[in-house]
């Protein structure tokens, strides 16, 4: 056993008699931070594994050929069938389900007899079928939707004007991740029941999918390559069971990346507490260090002795954190599994636990290098003197810290898979810590300047002296509480901003309904009928087709524009004789233009993709590849929820292409029911999507996301509170002495307590105000810069943060002031002599 290890073990044995008293804050901070990251990691791993294991079931087959706006041709169907053991066709679309005068939005899934290839439907009653009975086709209706419409098995209703009979409540579909029914609950019907109806007419908005089971011996990689060659230029989307729901995966990864980063912020807050605890511990060991140095121990040996002890504590803290994180996830496993729309097995896995341990260890190293560095730079004589070791830690510690910081940032980027976001958040945390430290100094400087105000007011004088004097208390409060409050404040401001945008700002200018699948022949009649309804203030229409932007200047679009949302999946495309929006560059095509295709692109998105006038944009519409030259850019404001297309083509470019129209109906809330009735009864193939309801569903989705984020942020705050409590507990002795001295000078207990509370309130208020400022900055950046939404300060959450800051610090201070105040001054002073 090495000398350092032997000495360290002896030291620890002696230290353990004190029951790790000085290390409670160290261990708690480490434990909470590691637990948060471990918990997030385990849940994410469960979702990933669930997606991977259930891939074929969630997708509905080993692979899926998807088409937008059309079904596969006979030749395409033949090729698909010849490369599969089994094929199942499904069509999904939005439609209006009607019972009497009540109409509401539903997502239809029309399936063939082979459905489902994998898994099974859960129905009530379980043995129901979709076959026609007495000429009326059957349907399975989502349980909640059926309840809302008062439907029971045997009841009849209309879908797109056609009558169906409800056969069963649809309790679960094997091939659903829950994301596909965000804008309407499911109604499942037979594919044959829709054939021949206007719902599948050319131009209608529907998606078709051909799920296949592989033939024995085939593999996905080969089949994907063959399919890409076979269906090149047809607009076919390939998905396979290796990544059955890229959207869900992306959402899960984004959310968990954010949660991991919030957990890291918690560790950073805890790091400040660990650093203080380490400094205090080293100070308390000054005599031991001095003795070792006096006996000839090198600085390296002393450093190793203390590093070994810190290492043991770190292992203990990490182990406790992993236990807590895993324990919480396992305890909440049924709730977590129940909240997800597809089966997951929440369990323990090594990778997320290992990453949490790594982050914990790196944080400890980062935050203890400086105290350790300072310790080894101080000579024996200095250590014998009273006072804390402070000052420059040496270049070794600085360089090592930089290296650890880089490793930590790299690990965070690797863990979250989002370099930009990770660096932005870590940079933000570092900047916030520096800012808070500066603000702590600022409080001290301000308190010193304000000191004359305290003259003759002993309570204020003592508070200002405590904040402004040597070792001012403000700094510790700012670091320990400030970051946690800032994270919470940022989330509060962003969430309030989003809610406000959804609830208040958008509906003021947004339409009441989007109407889709309007047949061009019905357009005039529909507009007339809508205009005649009282409360309908305006209706706008535009032709719409859907297409995939797949080439830019002859190159694959993704190569040029990366993962930009405009290039992700199919987009609405329109054509127009005159511009709907203001042109920002270029010129519009002349009336009756019949030359090579021209395009007008949304200016902001065009700039993000690096497009300029004269660039060629390739779009696949209904399997037909159209290449148009960009001749203008338009200022499209998507935030108004009105009609807005990224891509508009000249009418001749799309001449003859079957299309439908979309419309936006602006109406008062009282006019919404009559609009729905008119559409349901007289234009059954038109689907009305209520914007208010859609926004409410977005709000609900947002609420569950913000709940998860708030939970993670509360860990940061809890860690901050632990650090705060630790600082308050560490200062208990000093406060006891101060209280005893003040009482010996004639101060009553109320005066002493008021002084303690006032200094805490002042420090807490400044921490709260800094947090609000940080939150407002984050809120503005996200709302205004990232989301292009109007931002105004949410004063409610801001005020709550300041109150929480003040409350937390005052409570912590008072809690640790009551005992000293109850002691006889003589006993305290005797101990201090």
């Amino acid at each position: 056993m090495s000398l350092a290890l032997r000495i360290a073990l002896r030291e620890m044995r002696a230290g353990l008699r004190g029951g790790l008293r000085g290390f409670r804050v160290f261990l708690l901070c480490l434990m909470l931070g590691v637990a948060a990251i471990a918990a997030v990691g385990l849940v994410r791993e469960a979702i990933r594994q669930g997606l991977a294991e259930q891939g074929a079931t969630l997708l509905g087959g080993d692979a899926q050929y998807g088409f937008t706006y059309r079904r596969a041709t006979d030749a395409e169907r033949g090729w698909i069938a010849s490369h599969a053991a089994r094929v199942s066709e499904t069509i999904t679309m939005r439609s209006m389900i009607g019972v009497g005068d009540a109409f509401t939005l539903t997502q239809i899934k029309a399936v063939d007899a082979a459905y489902p290839l994998n898994g099974r439907l859960v129905l009530d009653p379980p043995d129901a079928v979709l076959d026609e009975k007495k000429g009326v086709p059957g349907a399975f209706v989502d349980g909640v939707l059926a309840d809302r419409l008062g439907l029971v098995p045997g009841a009849r209703f209309t879908l797109g004007g056609k009558t169906f009979e409800m056969r069963a409540r649809l309790l679960s579909e094997p091939d659903s991740t829950g994301r596909d029914t965000l804008f309407g609950p499911r109604t499942l019907v037979s594919l044959s029941a829709l054939e021949g109806t206007p719902m599948l007419a050319p131009g209608s908005l529907f998606d078709s999918a051909y799920r296949v089971q592989l033939r024995p011996g085939d593999d996905l990689v080969t089949l994907k390559r063959q399919a890409a060659a076979q269906f090149h230029g047809t607009g076919m989307n390939w998905t396979d069971s290796r990544r059955p729901s890229p959207g869900t995966e992306r959402f899960t990864d984004q959310l968990s990346a954010f949660l991991v980063l919030v957990g890291l912020a918690g560790l950073a807050v805890g790091g400040s507490g660990m650093s203080s605890a380490t400094s205090a511990w080293i100070s308390s060991k000054a005599e031991t260090i001095a003795t070792l140095r006096a006996l000839g121990a090198s600085a390296g040996l002393v450093r190793r002795v203390f590093a070994v002890q810190l290492g043991v504590l770190t292992v203990l803290g990490i182990a406790l954190g992993l236990l807590l994180g895993a324990g919480l996830v396992m305890a909440a496993a049924p709730q977590i599994a129940g909240a997800l729309p597809f089966p997951v097995a929440v369990g323990l896995s090594v990778r997320p636990l290992a990453s949490a341990a790594l982050f914990g260890a790196l944080t400890v190293v980062l935050f203890t290098l400086w105290p350790l560095g300072r310790m080894t730079r101080i000579g024996a004589a200095r250590l014998y003197r009273p006072g804390r070791a402070g000052g420059w830690p040496g270049w070794g510690a600085v360089v090592s810290s930089a290296v650890v910081l880089i490793v930590l940032a790299g690990a965070a980027c690797a863990e979250t898979g989002r370099t930009g976001l990770s660096l932005a958040v870590l940079g933000g945390v570092a900047a916030a810590l520096v800012l808070l430290a500066l603000m702590g100094r600022g409080i001290g400087a301000l308190a010193r300047r304000l000191r004359p105000l305290g003259r003759g007011r002993p309570v204020l004088h003592l508070a200002l002296a405590a904040l402004g004097g040597p070792g001012g208390e403000g700094r510790a409060v700012m670091i320990s509480l400030g970051l946690g409050l800032t994270v919470l404040s940022s989330i509060g401001q962003i969430e309030a901003g989003l809610r406000s945008a959804i609830r208040n700002d958008l509906p003021a200018v947004a339409p009441a309904f989007f109407l889709i699948d309007i047949l061009p022949d019905d357009r005039a009649a529909l507009l007339d009928r809508l205009a005649a309804l009282p409360g309908v203030t305006r209706t706008e229409t535009a032709p719409m087709l859907r297409g995939v932007i797949d080439r830019i200047n002859g190159r694959p679009a993704r190569e040029v524009g990366g993962d930009h949302w405009v290039l992700r999946g199919d987009r609405g495309v329109t054509f127009a004789e005159t511009p709907r929006e203001k042109l920002t560059a270029g010129s519009w095509w002349p009336a009756g233009y019949d030359g090579p295709p021209q395009a007008s692109f949304a200016a902001k998105e065009g700039a993000e993709l690096g497009l300029k006038l004269g660039d060629r944009i390739g779009v696949n519409i209904l399997g037909r590849e159209i290449e148009a030259t960009i001749t203008s850019f338009r200022d499209v404001d998507f935030s108004t929820a009105g009609i807005g297309f990224v891509l508009t083509l000249d009418p001749a470019a799309l001449a003859g292409a079957p299309h439908t129209e979309i419309a936006t109906v602006y109406a008062t809330p009282a006019a919404e029911a009559p609009v729905l009735r008119l559409i349901g009864h007289d234009f059954p193939n038109v689907t009305a999507i209520g914007v208010r309801g859609a926004l409410e569903r977005v709000g609900e989705a947002l609420a569950s996301v913000s709940k998860a984020v708030l939970l993670a942020a509360s860990v940061t705050l809890a860690v901050g509170f632990v650090v705060l409590i630790g600082a308050a507990a560490g200062g208990e002795g000093a406060r006891a002495r101060e209280a005893a001295v003040l009482r010996s000078l004639g101060a009553t207990r109320a005066t002493v307590l008021a002084s303690f509370a006032l200094r805490a309130a002042l420090a807490g208020a400044v921490a709260g105000i800094v947090a609000v400022a940080g939150g407002v900055l984050a809120g503005w950046a996200v709302m205004d810069r990232v989301m292009n939404l109007p931002y105004s300060i949410a004063w409610g959450p801001a005020f709550a943060i300041v109150v929480a800051g003040v409350g937390a610090v005052v409570l912590a201070q008072i809690a640790f002031a009551l005992r000293p105040l109850g002691l006889r001054p003589a006993r305290v002073l005797r101990e201090a002599e």
């Binding site: 002993p458 004097g469 070792g471 001012g472 101060a747 006993r827």
Partner: protein, 228 residues
């Protein structure tokens, strides 16, 4: 008895120790007259500092009675004791016990501010000049020497012009030269202000400067020598 400012009658003090109750004072009876200077001497652990704390109301007698300026200290609440000390007593400790976050002048002004004196700041400045520390008024305790800190503590104890000055080994943490300077100052100001001084000390030469020397041994008065 008209001149008695401090009276201790059969005072006992029992404190909880690790191994059970410890009897610190075993029935002390002592009367101290106005303007008298009394040195409490005795070996370490004899109970002299505890007796001083009883006289200052910083500790409560387990039994017996302590009266200061006619007030029965045992009958007063903790806050009433604090209020009583404001104008009546000044205390100097061995470890100075200055508020580390306050400058010398702020420390001296503190008892006056607590007492609600409107001219606390000015009087504190003047008192610091008196103890020869006018030039250190803006310094924090950590920036001053031990002797300077104790002179500040003395200024703080005397700035309210208390009737009674209690000093617990005021030179115990000072070197000989600084200790002698502080004591010279203390005795000079006591005489100047007419303050009653009760001083705990180990130093025979300091005790010799007092009007009266009371020797405490094992919680009892072993000797009471009037030297005036």
């Amino acid at each position: 008895m008209a001149d008695t400012v401090l009276s201790v009658a059969d005072a006992r003090l029992v404190l909880d120790g690790g191994a059970g109750p410890v009897e610190i004072l075993r029935g002390i009876t002592l009367n101290i007259n106005r303007s008298e200077s009394v040195g409490l001497v005795g070996p370490s652990g004899s109970g002299k500092s505890s007796l001083l704390m009883l006289m200052g109301g910083l500790e409560r007698a387990s039994d017996g009675r302590v009266t200061a300026l006619g007030e029965d200290l045992g009958a007063l609440s903790e806050d009433a004791l604090a209020r009583f000390r404001r104008g009546a007593m000044g205390i100097v400790f061995q470890s100075f016990h200055l508020v580390p976050t306050m400058t010398a002048r702020e420390n001296v002004a503190l008892p006056l501010e607590i007492a609600g004196a409107p001219d606390a700041w000015e009087r504190a400045g003047a008192e610091l000049e008196t103890v020869g520390l006018g030039h250190r008024a803006g310094h924090y305790p950590a920036e001053m020497s031990g002797g300077e800190q104790q002179r500040t503590a003395l200024a703080r104890a005397l700035v309210t012009r208390p009737a009674i000055l209690l000093a617990d080994e005021p030179t115990g943490n000072l070197d000989q030269a600084n200790g002698a300077a502080v004591m010279d100052l203390m005795f000079r100001l006591r005489t100047e202000y007419g303050t009653t001084l009760i001083l705990v000390t180990h130093a025979p030469e300091l005790a010799a400067r007092c009007d009266r020397v009371v020797r405490i041994e094992d919680g009892r008065i072993a000797a009471d020598e009037d030297r005036a």
